[in-house]
C-alpha cells in the first residue's frame, strides 16, 4: 500500500509538470490549449531528434540528454512567445470557439507531422541506465532515481512559478492582465506582450515535461490527447490560478490512478477520470481556487 502511494506521488510529480503550463495559460489569459499534450510530445520528439543528431556527430556521452534538454528550453521559450504573439493572441475573446479550434487544429497538425517524421512506433530517450537506477529505502522499498528527480523538479518548478507570480514585476503584470485586461492596459501594460511571455514560460515547462516523459517511458505521436486530459484534470482539481493547487491536484490524480492500476490495470485511468468528475460535482471551483473563471 505504501509503495502504491509512493509510486502514485512520483507519477503525480510528472503530471504536475504536464499541468503547470496549462495552469499558467488558464490563469493569465483563460486560454484553453487543447494541443497541450501534443506540444509535450513535440518536445519529447524534438529531444529524440536532437539525440540522433548528436549521435550522428559521434557524440554519445551519458550527459547527451541533458545537453539536448538545455538546448531545447530556450527554443521552446521562443516558440511559445511567437505562437502566442502572432497566432493565439488573435483568437482570444469572449467567444471560446476560435482559440479552441485553432489549438485543436494545431493538435491534429502536430500529431500527423510526428507520425510522418517518426512513424507510430513507440520510442524513448536513451539515458544510459538512469531510468532503471533506484535507491533503496527502509522497509524494503525502492524508488527510481529518475522519478525522484522528476518529483524534485516538479516541486522546484511549482515553487518557482508561484514566486514569479507573487514576487516579481512580471508576475504582477500577469496578475494584472488576468484580473482586468483593459485597466492593465490603461496602466501602461501591453497585454499582447504579457500574454506572449506567459505562453513562452508555459512552453519551457512543456518542453521540460516532454523530455522527462521521453526519458521515463516510451512516447508515440498519438499520446498527446491523453496527457492533455491528465493536465486538465490536475488543474481543475487543484483550482484555477494556484500553482500549489495544481501540484496537489496532480498528486491526487497520480495516486488515484496508481491505486486504480493496482486494483485492475484496465481501470487505472478510468478511476482517475471518475475522481476528477467527483471533485467537479462536489467542488467545481477546485480545491484551492485563486482566480475566478
Amino acid at each position: 500500500m505504501l509503495e502504491t502511494l509512493l509510486q502514485g506521488m512520483l507519477l503525480g510529480g510528472l503530471y504536475c509538470l504536464f499541468a503547470l503550463g496549462q495552469s499558467l495559460m488558464f490563469g493569465v489569459m483563460r486560454l484553453t490549449n487543447t494541443a497541450q499534450g501534443d506540444f509535450i510530445m513535440l518536445g519529447a520528439f524534438a529531444a529524440i531528434a536532437g539525440m540522433n543528431a548528436l549521435a550522428a556527430l559521434g557524440w554519445s556521452h551519458g550527459s547527451a540528454p541533458f545537453v539536448v534538454m538545455l538546448a531545447l528550453l530556450p527554443l521552446a521559450f521562443g516558440f511559445g512567445y511567437a505562437l502566442q504573439r502572432w497566432v493565439l493572441n488573435g483568437t482570444l475573446g469572449r467567444d471560446p470557439l476560435p482559440s479552441l479550434v485553432v489549438t485543436f487544429g494545431l493538435s491534429i497538425v502536430i500529431q500527423n507531422l510526428l507520425l510522418e517524421l517518426f512513424s507510430a512506433d513507440p520510442r524513448s530517450i536513451e539515458t544510459s541506465g538512469l531510468n532503471t537506477a533506484s535507491v533503496a529505502l527502509p522497509a524494503g522499498l525502492a524508488i527510481g532515481v529518475l522519478p525522484l528527480a522528476i518529483f524534485a523538479l516538479a516541486l522546484l518548478a511549482t515553487g518557482a512559478l508561484q514566486w514569479l507570480f507573487n514576487g516579481t514585476r512580471l508576475g504582477r503584470a500577469f496578475r494584472a492582465v488576468s484580473d482586468d485586461k483593459e485597466i492593465a492596459e490603461l496602466m501602461g501594460l501591453n497585454s499582447n506582450t504579457v500574454y506572449a511571455l506567459a505562453t513562452a514560460i508555459a512552453f519551457v515547462l512543456i518542453a521540460l515535461a516532454g523530455v522527462l516523459q521521453g526519458m521515463r517511458t516510451t512516447v508515440s505521436p498519438a499520446d498527446g490527447p491523453l496527457l492533455l486530459l491528465f493536465a486538465f484534470e490536475a488543474v481543475i482539481i487543484g483550482g484555477m490560478g494556484s500553482f500549489w493547487g495544481t501540484l496537489i491536484g496532480a498528486l491526487l490524480l497520480g495516486i488515484t490512478q496508481q491505486i486504480g492500476f493496482r486494483l485492475d490495470p484496465g481501470w487505472g485511468i478510468w478511476v482517475g477520470h471518475i475522481v476528477f468528475l467527483i471533485v467537479l460535482v462536489l467542488r467545481p471551483q477546485g480545491l484551492f481556487p485563486k482566480t475566478r473563471g
Binding site: T34, V87, F104, E233, W267
Partner: protein
C-alpha cells in the same frame, strides 16, 4: 397604424425547398436507377457521409446556437452505436428498429452527463466533455460482453440478405438526414428558436427578457446527444463492426468541427456545405494520409483566423443568399 408585414422566406429559399424535394425523391430512388454494380458502393458512401452530416449538424446546434463548444460529442455517438448493437445482438430487437432506440438512449444518458458537464464553461467545458467521452470509451473497453478493447460485430443482421440490408440502411440514412434538417429548421424558426438565438448572442440579456436559459441549454444538449446517438447507431448498422476506439474516437468531433467551421458556424447551411467540401477533399486527397490530415488541420486554423464566418457566411454576406432563412424581416 402602419401596416407591418413579416417576411420569413425569400425567392431563393422557396426555390431551394423545391430543389430539395426533387433531390430527395431522386435520391430515394437510387437503388432503382443506379447502374448495375456501383449502386451498392454509392449507397455505402452516402450512409457514411450522412452520419458525418447529422453529427456535424448536431454539433453546430450545440456550439453555434447553444454556445456550448464540446469536444466530447463522440460519447453519444459511440453510446448510440453500442446500445443499438446490444439491443440487436442480445435483446433480439431488429437493428433498424434499434437505431432510433440507440439515439433515445444517448439522449437519456445526456441528462445525468449534463449535470457534471455543466459545471464547466467555455474552454473548460470543451475539455471536460472530452474527459467524459474518455470515461465512456474506457467503460466499454472494459466490458467483455461487447468484446472489450477489440470490439465486436453486429451479428443480428446476419439473416438479412445483403441487397435488402443495404437498401434499408440507405433509406433510413436518407430519412434521418431529411428529418434532422427539417426539425432543426422548424425549431430555429419557432419561438423557442428565437429564444436560443437570444441566448447565443447574450446569455444575461436573454435571461433578463424572461428566457429560461438553463432549461433551454439542457434541452439543446439533450437534442444534440440524440442526434449524435442517431448518427452513431446508423454508422454502425452500416459498418457492422464496432470497437471502443472507433466509436469514441475524438476524430468524430474533430471532423464535425472542421465541417462546421469551414461551412460557417451558426447557420443551417454551414454543416451541409462543410460536409460536401469534406466529402470532396476526402475523395481527392485522402490517399495522402498524414499530409491530408495536416492540411485539414491547417485549413481549419486559417479559416478560423481569417474567415470567421466560414464559406457560407461569406456567400451570405456577399450575395445575400439564404437557403434556410430563420430571421424575420419586417416590411412597412
Amino acid at each position: 397604424m402602419a401596416q407591418v408585414e413579416v417576411i420569413r422566406s425569400t425567392a431563393v429559399s422557396r426555390a431551394a425547398l423545391w430543389v430539395g424535394l426533387v433531390l430527395i425523391v431522386v435520391a430515394a430512388g437510387l437503388p432503382f436507377w443506379a447502374p448495375e454494380g456501383s449502386g451498392s458502393s454509392w449507397m455505402r458512401e452516402f450512409v457514411e457521409i450522412a452520419c458525418y452530416l447529422i453529427f456535424a449538424m448536431m454539433w453546430n446546434l450545440l456550439a453555434g446556437y447553444g454556445g456550448m463548444v464540446s469536444i466530447g460529442q463522440q460519447a453519444f455517438f459511440g453510446f448510440g452505436g453500442y446500445v443499438m448493437l446490444m439491443l440487436g445482438n442480445f435483446a433480439g430487437v431488429n437493428p433498424f428498429v434499434a437505431v432510433p432506440l440507440g439515439a433515445l438512449a444517448a439522449a437519456l444518458i445526456a441528462v445525468p452527463v449534463s449535470f457534471v458537464a455543466f459545471r464547466l464553461q467555455g474552454g473548460y467545458f470543451a475539455i471536460g466533455t472530452w474527459v467524459i467521452a474518455d470515461v465512456f470509451r474506457l467503460s466499454f473497453a472494459n466490458m467483455s460482453v461487447v468484446g472489450g478493447g477489440s470490439g465486436t460485430s453486429l451479428t443480428a443482421l446476419r439473416g438479412i440478405e445483403k441487397a435488402t440490408r443495404e437498401n434499408l440502411t440507405f433509406w433510413i440514412a436518407l430519412a434521418c438526414v431529411v428529418a434532422a434538417i427539417t426539425l432543426i429548421y422548424l425549431f430555429l424558426r419557432s419561438k423557442r428558436g428565437l429564444a436560443l438565438l437570444a441566448i447565443r448572442d447574450n446569455e444575461v440579456a436573454a435571461e433578463s427578457q424572461g428566457i429560461a436559459v438553463a432549461g433551454m441549454k439542457l434541452a439543446v444538449y439533450v437534442v444534440a446527444a440524440f442526434g449524435a446517438g442517431l448518427a452513431g447507431a446508423l454508422y454502425f448498422v452500416g459498418n457492422l463492426r464496432i470497437s471502443p476506439d472507433a466509436a469514441f474516437s475524438v476524430n468524430w468531433t474533430a471532423f464535425a468541427i472542421f465541417m462546421v467551421v469551414i461551412g460557417g458556424i451558426g447557420r443551417i447551411e454551414g454543416p451541409i456545405v462543410g460536409a460536401l467540401i469534406f466529402w470532396a477533399l476526402n475523395k481527392c486527397f485522402s490517399s495522402y494520409g498524414t499530409w491530408y490530415l495536416m492540411g485539414l488541420g491547417l485549413l481549419a486554423i486559417v479559416v478560423t483566423i481569417f474567415f470567421k464566418q466560414g464559406l457560407w457566411g461569406w456567400a451570405q454576406r456577399r450575395f445575400g443568399l439564404s437557403l434556410f432563412p430563420t430571421q424575420r424581416t419586417l416590411r412597412l
